[in-house]
């Protein structure tokens, strides 16, 4: 029999899942509570440009066993809070792809899952997901936004290299939505009425106590059965038992008191040091520090539940580039002089700069994630747990491809979404392989996120490109 167990060990070893480590990813991934506590869910979007360097992004097949590549290394501490989506197709753009600027076309379709209205306006033929969700929150709240601001769209960009060049991804059904370059303007909008406060109320503890007693009995049985079984079986049962204990703890907290009247948290405060403007020579330092603070304050104070951050391009100095260097005119030119198929065989001087550029995005994203984690909700979880935080872009990689995008979702939207997971989907026109499920469209992904934050969404974007919610993204 030792041979049998040795086989099992070998199998687990081959999967990198030996012993207790086999269970660790889920244990690390199991917060002590989920929604149903009155804590609001939020949609946050981080939007970057020029796609990714595919071979630098992440490796692994669909599942929990994956590795972050060099471009995503700054996210290592948050790996178990991420859901990596490799292969998302912008199928609507297949329907009416337009010649001309690929970036503008991608921006029109990425968050709308729609065709492009026209090249000049670079707008999708429908609302973007941020608008869809903020309108959904209004509908669910009797036609009025549940927060001071229905949404915020903040941009990290140099005014001289701004959105007018390419367009922007946010739109209502009839036109582009306004964005804000100046962090202090956003600050003023947020705190015009002062710093909000929350109220608390005590709830009847008896129903919670009854449920706890049931769990206590069931957990006793788990311990009893685990004691009679072997160590592997016992590990599995103990893992289940630990989750029951976590649920008991959550119920104990809920029976004492719970936040009432919105999601204002103890961390709600007016942020300091918000930059007065962008467009100066120090615009990158100003916006890259101010915008994350604004996002954090907006969520902690429940001033909005839809916050979009567009990182147009970090300042060249932020990633060691001087326009005109290495045989290129600007970043756009540099990126497009890379041949994705050549990978590391590209011109080294250009590739090294590009690697820093792409890594810089991950640094900003990691900072934003941490700021959401630092907000503690009434149920003991962080704000990130109750948020669907999407990192998306207009194209998949420097080659202007709209398909096979690599997107990331952080947070669980109150337990709706899974994390610590890589989806290695088969993007359009790629050879099917046994370990790659069919790729969803961006509309499918966006609808999933809308549902995750509580806005019922049965279709989104171009109907012919929509297949349905992506069940595999759900916990």
């Amino acid at each position: 029999m030792s041979n049998t167990n040795a086989n099992r060990r070998r199998l687990l070893q081959s999967l990198g899942l030996t012993g207790a480590a086999y269970f660790l990813p889920t244990l690390r991934n199991t917060p002590i509570a989920r929604a149903q506590t009155g804590i609001p869910k939020r949609l946050v979007i981080f939007y970057t440009h020029h796609g990714v360097l595919p071979w630098q992004w992440a490796t692994g097949s669909t599942g929990t066993t994956f590795e972050l590549g060099p471009s995503l290394a700054p996210l290592a501490a948050h790996k178990m809070d991420l859901q990596l989506l490799s292969g998302v197709d912008q199928k609507a753009l297949d329907v009416s792809r337009r010649d001309g600027c690929g970036h503008a076309t991608g921006e029109s379709g990425s968050l709308t899952a729609q065709t492009q209205v026209n090249q000049a306006k670079a707008r999708g033929n429908g609302p973007s997901i941020d608008y869809h969700v903020s309108e959904g929150f209004k509908r669910l709240n009797g036609g009025k936004s549940p927060t001071l601001l229905d949404s915020v769209r903040s941009v990290m960009a140099d005014r001289m290299h701004n959105l007018s060049l390419w367009g922007q991804p946010y739109s209502s059904p009839t036109g582009n939505l306004p964005v804000e370059y100046n962090p202090q303007t956003t600050f003023t909008r947020m705190f015009a009425n002062g710093v909000p406060t929350g109220t608390k109320t005590t709830v009847d503890p008896i129903p919670f106590n009854k449920r706890r007693s049931v769990l206590d009995y069931a957990n006793g049985e788990f311990k009893s059965v685990a004691n009679r079984m072997g160590k592997y079986e016992s590990e599995r049962l103990t893992q289940h038992s630990d989750l029951i204990r976590d649920l008991e703890a959550k119920l104990a907290g809920m029976s004492v008191q719970m936040t009432n009247g919105g999601g204002v948290t103890a961390q709600c405060a007016r942020p300091n040091g918000i930059a007065a403007t962008s467009g100066s020579s120090g615009w990158w330092d100003a916006t890259s520090k101010s915008v994350p603070l604004l996002m954090q304050a907006a969520i902690a104070c429940d001033l909005t539940r839809v916050f979009c951050i567009q990182c147009q391009e970090p300042a060249p100095s932020a990633f060691g580039y001087t326009p005109g260097a290495v045989g290129t005119t600007d970043l756009h030119d540099l990126v497009h002089k890379l041949d994705v198929g050549m990978k590391e065989d590209n011109d080294k001087s250009r590739l090294d700069i590009a690697k820093v550029y792409y890594r810089k995005h991950a640094e900003v994203f990691a900072d934003l994630i941490q700021k959401l984690k630092d907000i503690k909700e009434a149920d003991g979880n962080s704000a990130l747990y109750h948020t669907a935080f999407l990192w998306a872009g207009e194209i998949a990689q420097p080659g202007h491809s709209y398909n096979n995008n690599k997107w990331i979702v952080a947070g669980r939207a109150g337990g709706y979404l899974k994390t610590g997971y890589l989806h290695a989907w088969q993007g359009d026109n790629v050879v099917w392989t046994a370990d790659k499920p069919a790729a969803p469209s961006n509309g499918d992904v966006l609808a999933t996120l809308a549902n995750a934050v509580g806005v019922p969404t049965t279709t989104f974007g171009l109907p012919s490109a929509f297949k349905g919610e992506v069940a595999a993204m759900k916990a």
Partner: protein, 585 residues
């Protein structure tokens, strides 16, 4: 009903006519191992060396054919359908409204199967969903206690409450645990009841008791302690009853199975086989065994591709046609795998189709009379078996162009158990579009591309050789003899196929139909079928220790022309099905 009778009669023929005792004649040619004794003094058939070498990709091991090891015995949690079915049967005649069913987290298949123990890591969402659902079960049962026909329940007064509770433990709780409660379990449940009753009224207390019972591991998991010691621990009759009911019904044992367990009937192979005869006759087995077929063949994922087609290339192809093709595939599998004469060979070679008027053109037949899907005979020169069902062919294709690669990869992985190696990491696997004005067929282009790169050629010589056998079908699965190439002309398609480096299928085939015949005759394919079902039935991976069992069951499956009943018969007789390994402390 015809289908169920057919399956039953096939099982009876195999089981009763082919020696369910397991006795057999002496060693066969090659004589790798003589007959041996199983755990119940059953004489095991011999195993030949050839039986271990059917698949060159992984030869089986059988070091001790007289007393084969058991392999692993994992702790298995109820799958989502098993959970819902068990609640349904446990509380009957009470009913759980569908709207109140807890939405359990999506299950992640492991090695293709959602019931694989290794894919059953519990999550916060699972625990919370179960807790929510259990509250509803408790409320329904406590409110409908009088309908459960438990002696003394509901009590007429306070003095009868304890008697009602005791009777409840002996009936409801026993059925929930799927065996009599032991002393400790009874004591803990009684203590919980008393503790709650001291604070709440009887109905409220019973609601909490039921709520608790359906959250215990005895309910949520298939807990198997076995009875005895040594290297093989015999499962109790109750544990065997659960293995059978969850394998064939995706649910808890019924009264007959419980009675058979209590009477010791399930302690012998013949007793087990008698119950299997009864279980497969029940309509509930269609759902459970059908689920095996879908997961084995990866039908869900294939179907997701089948509906995504370029309407500019295939005008008239829409979601209705795709849905009809998918439904037709389900009916095809149901009939050919589980129906009269059903089994592997029929699955791989039948030329029936279930066709709607709207999808008839794709199947190459006229619109059948009658509404919905109709059973029709397809042109035998054009179609043969599962792999030529339009939904499969369309699913293993791109949006506008068929894909010999996808078709070859699927055949190797799911039918032959000789999966192609994955492509190199970060290889750009995009299939290039034809050059403008090219007059090359997809096959000719594929050959050129893969011949040009040695790295590609090494694998694609196998993949493409098989996939080319399906060149006679376009990306929606329609039969054709010509292909439109990039210069606009029509060229004849070449459906000749080559199989290399397999156990018993190697050869050049003039057409895909000829290739399918060879595949259907293959013992390697029969073993593949057995391995998939073995993994599904035991909720775990196949390991070296399973070699003897796999070889023996395959022998029997081959001898019975690949029928499903023969395989089931072989499986339930194994020690692995009726014994467990000792716990490792």
């Amino acid at each position: 009903m015809k289908r169920r009778r057919g399956f039953l009669s096939a099982f009876a023929l195999v089981c009763l006519g082919a020696g369910c005792s397991g006795t057999t004649t002496g060693p066969g040619p090659g004589g790798g191992g003589g007959g041996g004794k199983g755990g119940d003094d059953v004489v095991l058939p011999p195993i030949t060396r050839d039986s271990l070498k059917r698949n060159p990709a992984h030869e089986l091991k059988c070091d001790n054919p007289d007393d084969p090891s058991l392999g692993d015995t994992p702790l298995v949690r109820l799958t989502t359908p098993e959970y819902h079915n068990t609640i349904r049967d446990l509380i009957a005649p009470l009913e759980m409204p569908i709207a109140k069913r807890p939405t359990l987290p999506l299950e992640t298949p492991f090695e293709g199967f959602t019931n694989h123990a290794q894919g059953q890591t519990p999550s916060t969402e699972l625990v919370e969903s179960l807790e929510t659902g259990s509250q509803d079960v408790g409320a329904i049962v406590s409110a409908g206690l009088g309908k459960l026909e438990i002696v003394g329940c509901p009590p007429s007064g306070a003095s009868g409450e304890k008697a009602c509770f005791d009777a409840f433990v002996d009936t409801f709780a026993q059925r929930a645990f799927r065996r009599p409660l032991d002393g400790g379990e009874r004591e803990r449940l009684g203590a919980y009841y008393s503790s709650m009753r001291a604070t709440y009224d009887f109905n409220d207390t019973m609601r909490l008791v039921v709520n608790g019972i359906v959250q215990t591991p005895q309910f949520l998991y298939r807990v198997e302690y076995g009875d005895g010691s040594g290297s093989k621990i015999k499962l109790t009759g109750y544990e065997v009853a659960s293995r059978l009911s969850y394998l064939f019904w995706d649910s808890m044992p019924d009264a007959d199975l419980f009675a058979a367990a209590a009477d010791g009937v399930l302690d012998t192979p013949s007793g087990v086989e008698a119950q299997v005869l009864r279980l497969v006759k029940d309509t509930r087995s269609a759902s459970a065994l059908g689920q095996f077929g879908r997961e084995w063949l990866d039908i869900g994922r294939i179907e997701s591709f089948a509906e995504d087609k370029d309407v500019a290339v295939f005008p008239g192809f829409d979601k209705t046609v795709a849905a009809d093709m998918k439904a037709g595939l389900g009916m095809y599998i149901d009939e050919t795998l589980l129906g009269e004469g059903g089994g592997l060979k029929t699955l791989l070679t039948s030329n029936v189709g279930f066709v709607s008027a709207k999808a008839a053109a794709i199947y190459g037949v006229g619109a059948p009379a009658g509404a919905g899907l109709q059973r029709v005979e397809l042109n035998a020169a054009e179609r043969k078996g599962l792999a030529t069902q339009p939904a499969i062919l369309a699913g293993l294709a791109a949006r506008s162009e068929h894909s010999p690669i996808k078709r070859g990869v699927w055949m190797m992985s799911h039918i032959m158990c000789q999966p192609a190696p994955p492509p190199p990491v970060d290889l750009n696997t995009k299939e290039p579009a034809p050059a403008p004005g090219s007059n090359l067929t997809k096959r000719e282009r594929t050959v050129m591309e893969h011949e040009a790169v040695a790295l590609c050629k090494s694998c694609h010589v196998q993949i493409d050789g098989i996939g080319f056998g399906f060149e006679g079908y376009d990306a929606v699965g329609k039969y054709r003899t010509t292909e439109k190439v990039a210069d606009g002309s029509m060229k004849a398609v070449d459906t000749s196929a080559v199989i290399k480096e397999t156990g018993d299928m190697d050869g050049d085939y003039a057409s895909g139909i000829e290739m399918i015949d060879a595949i259907a005759r293959s013992e390697q394919v029969a073993q593949c079928f057995v391995e998939h079902f073995y993994r599904y039935a035991l909720s775990r991976s196949v390991v070296d220790e399973d070699g003897c069992n796999i070889a023996r069951i395959t022998d029997q499956t081959v001898a019975n022309q690949g029928d499903f009943a023969g395989m089931l018969n072989g499986l339930v007789k194994t020690d692995t099905f009726r014994y467990r390994t000792p716990f490792e402390r």
